[in-house]
Symmetry: C2
Subunit: 240 residues, 2 copies
């Protein structure tokens, strides 16, 4: 974390580089393995500092972090989740509804705490650098903060689950979030008994990992080529 | 990257954990320090594998990766950037326009290659798990892929700059991107002479890093409390 070291340290050493990839490849969307023991405030502060060092459009830093510990409030969020889930179910293809019902999709009450990461859309009203053409960039910056938080948490042995099956309006009412602020991510955060080897949805047969080489395009959409790159991609992802 | 190790390796060791934080804290939005030497395909494949292991709603994996190397095409994208920049300038507060004009905001032609990361909004049409209430979740998943790519690149000593000052429609025309696909991020990617100690916009006085403690809220929006967490946050971020 030392500025001088960062300046000098160009590419990381092999061990450090592997650690970054380990965090990326072994990060999981945790639903089922939360323990209830608390997270040390110093550790949680490190995770929030990681989130706060995400890139942001025009250095806007549009995020805020609502820490939710109260069990009653969490139960109210869980009720919102259950209602939203019942609303989503009919939109899932019929042959998959049985599987959908079986999936555990949240850990709101079991985790050590919940965290709502929000985006304040008015934070840099007079200097919308980089947002005139793409006004969603502030939301995207906030998502980068979520991903930083998630990867740092993995390195700390802390699991994170992103609950996206929620009605944003109801959540805003419950947490007193004003109109100009968007709740981008509602996260369950806590120590875990284990990190699963595969994503839950992959293990349960909901979907398979797509072959990386099929996602690489050359020069334009669906452009063929990049054979050497695709071969290298297959060699790497075949090992995992 | 070994599955068994990931399963057992709960929290990382101190050195590995610090490496993850180093990547997060020393990642930069690179504009000015690109070298022109090529990126090894094996390294680029690792970066793409990192992106491909981002979380995605319903394990949808909505991303594709368009690799752009051709100089003529890059010059055409640069022209789009220059036109977009001229359009954005009048929307910047008058007293900041001189600074805006001085800022270098892209490295489209100088970097080793460009990468457009797109989101295919139709990839899982019959199983919109987690997207019924928040249809933007597939875009957010794609942003998580961008951030994975960016952090892995930092560990490899490779710089990334996100060009958001672009008209999406013009870019789609240029790259032949169909209607149902969104170009989420246009990235300049390449080896760099250095990673700056501070973000460019901070060094140039565009904006300052906000105090982390001011962004922490308790139980509800703007809720006071979490004093111990805030003190820990100040102790950490004060050092950086």
């Amino acid at each position: 974390m030392d500025a001088v070291r960062n300046h000098i340290c160009h590419a990381f050493g092999d061990l450090e580089r592997e650690a970054v990839y380990d965090a990326i490849f072994s990060r999981r969307d945790v639903r089922s393995h939360f323990r209830s023991d608390p997270i040390d405030d110093v550790v949680l502060a490190r995770l929030l500092a990681a989130a706060h060092h995400a890139p942001s459009v025009g250095f806007m830093q549009p995020w805020d972090f609502i820490v939710i510990r109260d069990q009653k409030r969490r139960e109210a969020v869980r009720d919102l989740f259950l209602a939203a889930r019942a609303q989503e179910l009919p939109h899932i293809a019929e042959e998959r509804q049985a599987l959908y019902r079986k999936l555990k999709l949240e850990g709101i009450c079991e985790s050590a705490l919940n965290l709502c990461i929000t985006c304040d859309r008015q934070r840099s009203e007079n200097s919308p650098l980089g947002r005139w053409h793409n006004p969603q960039m502030d939301l995207f910056s906030t998502v980068c903060a979520v991903q930083n938080f998630w990867l740092a948490a993995r390195a700390e042995g802390i699991g994170v689950g992103w609950v996206s099956i929620l009605d944003a309006g109801s959540l805003k009412d419950l947490l007193g979030i004003p109109d100009h602020v968007v709740p981008v991510a509602y996260l369950c955060v806590g120590h875990v008994r284990e990190f699963a080897v595969q994503p839950d949805l992959e293990r349960n047969g909901w979907a398979s990992r797509l072959p990386l080489r099929d996602l690489v395009m050359s020069e334009r959409y669906a452009g063929t080529g990049e054979d050497a790159l695709k071969a290298a991609a297959s060699a790497i992802t075949g090992k995992k």
